[in-house]
């Protein structure tokens, strides 16, 4: 239970929210996401090391960047000898959706001090966002929801570090894991993330256009093809959204 329920003799029930209650509830509710992140984290550790990153660098990415898909892509690009600038730019683009999460949560956290906002922002991920936004949208007046937020991030963070470590050690012990094509692990994980997002036609069109463009633009230097395909995909999605809305207005 995320709160203690106090029943008074007059059969009036009051819900008491506590920092500890919210914190523990955040951890508990995030557990399914944690389970999902375990293979992702272990595979990242193994693939990063197999691709040429030092164990310290792989660990450093998990500790200081803490962004699964960006880490995967970064390690992949590194193993292909892509330049620093492109990797950082790609990281930026891949993580742009976190800006959306921040914007969506901002109204609920604007009363908090920087001491809270800095760590909460630092460890914000897809999983935590999904769990925490639900909590904030519940119509109760708990003053401690940021502790729920914190609990969610704490469990995700520590799980990620542990799994990365396991992956790094496994990757070093079984060096030929790289030949098994573990880079496919990144692909299959991304497929598993994207497909559920294709809930309407504009999203589908966005994906199709981005996919086709990425093949056509594959020859561009410095992995620019990725940026180009993403931008054109986004534009296609927005245009499709406009067109379908106009059609609805007409009928």
């Amino acid at each position: 239970m995320r709160h203690a329920t106090l029943t008074i003799m007059t059969t009036q029930t009051t819900t008491i929210y506590t920092r500890q209650g919210e914190f523990l509830a955040g951890i508990k509710d995030t557990f399914p996401m944690v389970i999902g992140a375990i293979p992702f984290g272990i595979i990242f550790g193994a693939v990063a090391v197999a691709g040429g990153l030092s164990p310290a660098a792989a660990m450093g990415m998990s500790l200081f960047v803490f962004a699964g898909s960006a880490q995967f892509i970064g390690a992949n690009l590194f193993s292909q000898g892509v330049s620093f600038g492109i990797i950082v730019l790609t990281t930026f683009v891949v993580n742009l959706r976190h800006a959306l999460y921040g914007a969506s949560l901002a109204p609920y956290v604007k009363h908090l001090s920087q001491i809270w906002l800095l760590p909460l922002a630092f460890t914000l991920t897809d999983e935590t966002y999904a769990i925490v936004i639900s909590r904030y949208q519940q119509h109760d007046d708990s003053p401690y929801k940021h502790w729920y937020f914190f609990g969610s991030e704490v469990i995700m963070y520590f799980n990620w570090q542990t799994c990365t470590l396991i992956g790094i050690v496994a990757g070093q012990q079984f060096k030929d894991l790289a030949n098994l094509g573990l880079d496919f692990a990144m692909v299959v994980t991304f497929i598993g993330i994207v497909i559920p997002l294709l809930v309407n036609r504009p999203m589908l069109i966005c994906a199709i256009v981005a996919g086709v463009t990425s093949i056509l633009a594959n020859g561009l230097p410095n992995k620019l093809g990725l940026m180009v395909a993403a931008l054109i995909g986004i534009a296609a999605g927005m245009i499709a959204e406009e067109i379908f809305q106009r059609k609805e207005v007409k009928t």
Binding site: A56, S69, A70, G192, I193, V194, A207, A210, N218
Partner: protein
Amino acid sequence: MNEVLLILGMMLVTFGVRYPMLAIVGRLQLPPLLVRALSYVPVAVLTAIIVPEVMMPDDTINIGMDNAYLVAGLLAVIVSWRTKNLLATIVIGMGGFLLWRAVIGA
């Protein structure tokens, strides 16, 4: 490339994306157009990564059955579409990939 600089760079842009929106947007209004565009970013970016990896694993387009990435990729798409379960998609996709590679003797 200096690994420390790489991590620092990635860390700064990541934090630079996460923090301003969370901390400042309470006081600012994002243009609605930007918000709509942002919602397409994950799909566009991740698809742009997936498709070349699956269809051009060796830098030339390969849509034959000997492309384990393609075969297992399609399997993963089907599993994800039917179950919406990330763990199942990863396990079945990877399993299918390794199995297919063994079967075709890669």
